[in-house]
């Protein structure tokens, strides 16, 4: 029973940040821009957020939750601003979107590692490869958490999970219900139609890439809080790529992508629980942590046939061409 609870609690706290990163990817790719940069965007976002939290932590009590929310806000901004690089390269200069994405990932790893050590030297007088973060509180809903099995959903919730669900709702609303969302999705199918309708394709795509960065950054800082309570280069665990896999299984739609993220989340926490049930040495933990990726591989085999990418995905839009 306790294992089941752990699986649900840990699964959700992993799936939800993954979900918001995947939504970011959906925004980018539905506008027609390939996004392999989620990994780098979430890392850079998390770095900016963790830095902000470190800088302001002195102003608050040791157990204050305020630095975490400040960190989330800054991760959102940091990811969005770093994504400008991808937008400028892909939309303005019409560079190859795959290469741009890979470069952004490599650059993010190098920059954040370097800056973390430099800045911590400047701040604390000693070089360190991490920013320590405050431990997040966990919320448990009285009553609902008493329900057998499902009660675990309402137990030990990170506050960021709630924040992300709120952001996800807004993202869903904007993508499917507003004129901007309509233009965005149209850009990924036939940019010529959008152009003919008098809407600027490059502007829509530019904003979409920035939103993608902001949401990825938000996901990144949440991983920093939930998994390690610090920011270090361990943030680059490949969760950005997992988010890409999730949005592909989700067929570039928000609701199906949520299910894909939950499957990944439970596969991960289930694998972890399994090592404990079987009382395996800790070396096996790493092996079992690969479960989400193995699940990915199998899902790919079954789902790739029915999948339909946005028609204009990766296509550089040239106004002059008819």
């Amino acid at each position: 029973m306790t294992y089941l609870n752990t699986i649900i609690i840990d699964g959700l706290s992993f799936a939800i940040p993954l979900f918001i990163m995947a939504i970011g990817g959906i925004y980018c790719e539905r506008s027609g821009v390939t996004n392999l940069a989620i990994e780098g965007l979430q890392g850079m976002g998390a770095f900016v957020g963790a830095l902000a939290a470190t800088l302001v932590s002195g102003m608050f009590a040791a157990d204050s939750q305020a630095p975490m929310f400040i960190a989330m806000a800054f991760s959102f901004l940091g990811g969005g601003l770093y994504a400008v690089l991808h937008a400028v390269l892909c939309v303005k200069f019409k560079a190859n979107q795959v290469i741009s994405g890979v470069v952004i990932n490599i650059l993010a790893t190098a920059l954040t590692t370097f800056l973390t050590s430099e800045i911590s030297t400047a701040l604390f007088g000693a070089a360190s490869n991490r920013f320590r973060l405050t431990t997040s509180i966990r919320l448990t809903v009285p009553g609902l958490s008493e329900i057998p099995v499902l009660g675990a959903i309402f137990t030990n919730i990170y506050p960021f999970e709630l924040a992300i669900i709120l952001v996800a709702l807004v993202a869903w609303y904007v993508l499917y219900k507003t004129p901007f969302g309509m233009h965005l999705r149209a850009c990924g199918d036939n940019p010529h139609a959008v152009d003919a309708a008098g809407v600027e394709v490059s502007r829509v795509r530019f904003i979409a890439v920035m939103i993608s960065g902001a949401l990825s950054g938000l996901g990144g800082i949440c991983f920093a809080y939930s998994i390690s309570v610090q920011f270090s280069s361990a943030i680059y665990m490949g969760y950005g790529y997992l988010a890409i896999a999730a949005l592909i299984f989700g067929n570039w739609q928000i609701m199906p992508t949520l299910w894909a993220c939950l499957i990944f989340g439970f596969a991960r926490s289930g694998g972890f629980a399994l090592t404990q049930v079987m009382e395996l040495p800790s070396a096996f933990t790493d092996l079992f942590m690969t479960l989400p990726y193995i699940v990915t591989l199998f899902l790919l085999i079954f789902f790739s046939k029915s999948n339909r990418a946005p028609r204009a995905l990766g296509e550089i839009y040239d106004k002059g061409k008819r």
Partner: protein
């Protein structure tokens, strides 16, 4: 004068690199008429109308709308002037509904609590009402990817009407439609005119003009030839004006000596990617020493015939026999070895590897054989010798001889290189598709002479060209294709240019004679 015309174009000139697409064209279009623009491919019709719709700006000349001079810098501005255009290639979002496509860019909004949302419900109603009003029945909630081409076209028309367009431009609207759909469309166009709209119809089909248009401007090579009253002008006269230009060059041609049959195509049907038949039940044969030319307006299936024979397109039905061997489903290399030379329409994409050297390109079809390849190793010396010989024999001019990167060569010399390579194969069948497209006079004459030399050597030649002069000058036998069907096959000396031109327009046999 300004009051008489809703659209007036004065002395419009538009140049693109190398060509004058529109040369000093002046015309006026009256409110509430159907005005047709007639001309062959490349005559400048679409360019002229693209300027009216704001896609290009004229280099010289002025455009007046409702008597007022306008600089139409973008399609957006054209829309503001109540000008709408149905493009040849539709601009629709395939995973959106009809209604969503129609409102794209000008979405009506309503409030859901405090949140503004796109108002699809009222849109569906408005679209349904609009479609009833103009007799363009559509289901506003159907997705574009689920509806056929003719319905997609209705969506494009509704898009214009939703934006309250008064001047409607149709660019080759019937090219993708079946005869029944064409009748229906022409009826709609007439209805729109009767409702007070001004219609501009770009087409090269005479019958359609005769059926619906009030007046018709004829363009030829960027120049305005004449503006005619359709009711008092015969299709014959229009065809004469459109194709009846001086034949620039007379080719010296020896009498033909036909040998045995080399190529036999029977009941050939080829389908395009949308599974639509573009070549329909075509049969013909080509003998040794014969130039069999297929004449037709671009896009009527002639290129697909050449591709099917060369092995570049899949055959849906029918058979292709070369010298007694059925090659219907043979691969390209097999056909090359059996004896087909192919000069493709698009020399830069299909004919050459642009970043390879000239000598490599010249050996592109033989590199895997002796002496170019021995025991799996390429023999550089053989490439060089072969290249140098062909360059001298065929007078291929380039900056650095055999080592020149082909991309840097002129179009005429690129074509010479392909022709040299294909002639050297000494194949019994040679296919030339648009062999002189984009070449200057000298290069054209050179290619024509070579085609005739090969014919006199006893090769069977399948020539596909959009240039009627070229076909009349070279062909021994002419097949005229229209809408995927060979309407007429006859010895060249029994046909006049005008007759061929009429068949190309799809005019029926009994009308022509």
């Amino acid at each position: 004068m300004a009051d008489e015309y809703i659209v007036e174009m004065r002395h419009i000139t538009k140049r693109f690199p190398g060509i004058v697409a529109n040369d000093d064209i002046s015309l006026g279009i009256k409110k509430g008429e159907i005005f047709a623009l007639l001309g062959e491919n490349g005559a400048g019709k679409s360019t002229l109308m693209s300027m009216l719709f704001g896609m290009y700006e004229p280099d010289e000349g002025e455009i007046y709308i409702r008597g007022k001079r306008e600089h139409i810098a973008s399609p957006n501005y054209a829309t503001k002037l109540n000008i709408g255009m149905v493009h040849q290639h539709f601009k629709l979002v395939s995973n959106y509904t009809i209604a969503e496509n129609i409102i794209l860019g000008i979405e009506p909004k309503r409030r859901l609590g405090i949140f503004p949302v796109v108002d699809l419900k009222s849109t569906n109603e408005k679209v349904a009402q609009l479609s009833r009003q103009y007799g363009l029945e559509v289901d506003p909630k159907a997705k574009i990817e689920d509806i056929n081409v003719s319905t997609q076209q209705r969506v494009e028309i509704l898009k214009m009407l939703y934006r309250e367009a008064e001047i409607l431009i149709f660019d080759e609207p019937t090219a993708v439609l079946t005869p029944q759909e064409i009748d229906f469309l022409l009826q709609i166009i007439r209805g729109l005119r009767d409702g007070g709209k001004t219609i501009i119809l770009i087409t090269h089909k005479l019958e359609e003009i005769k059926q619906v248009a009030d007046r018709c401007a004829i363009l030829n090579r960027g120049k305005l030839i004449d503006i005619l009253d359709v009711a008092t002008t015969s299709t014959q006269t229009m065809a004469n004006l459109m194709v009846g230009r001086e034949v620039d060059f007379v080719v010296d041609k020896a009498p033909a000596h036909f040998g045995k049959e080399v190529l036999r195509v029977e009941h050939l049907t080829v389908k395009n990617r949308d599974n639509f038949p573009v070549v329909k039940d075509v049969s013909f044969s080509v003998r040794a020493g014969e130039i069999f030319a297929i004449a037709g307006v671009s896009g009527n299936g002639q290129v697909e015939i050449a591709d099917a024979v060369a092995g570049m397109a899949q055959v849906a039905e029918g058979s292709i026999v070369l010298n007694g061997t059925d090659i219907t489903h043979m691969d390209v290399r097999g056909r090359t070895d059996l004896g087909i030379s192919y000069i493709p329409e698009d020399r830069q994409h299909m004919g050459l590897v642009l970043d390879f050297s000239l000598e490599d390109n010249l050996a592109l079809k033989t590199y895997y054989k002796e002496p170019f390849c021995r025991k799996g190793i390429l023999q550089h010396e053989a490439f060089s010798q072969y290249g140098e010989r062909l360059i001298a024999e065929y007078d291929i001019r380039s900056g650095q001889g055999k080592d020149t990167v082909v991309r840097s060569m002129s179009g005429g010399n690129q074509q010479k290189a392909i022709v040299a390579r294909e002639i050297e194969l000494a194949s019994p069948l040679m296919i030339f598709v648009q062999p002189t497209r984009g070449l200057d006079i000298g290069a054209i004459e050179n290619i024509h002479r070579q085609i005739l030399v090969e014919r006199d050597k006893g090769r069977a030649i399948l020539l596909i060209s959009l240039e009627l002069d070229e076909i009349m000058g070279l062909a021994d036998t002419i097949g005229v294709i229209f809408s995927g069907e060979l309407l007429k096959i006859a010895p060249a000396d029994t046909l006049t240019t005008n007759e061929v031109g009429q068949f190309m327009m799809g005019v029926k046999q009994n009308e022509a004679s």
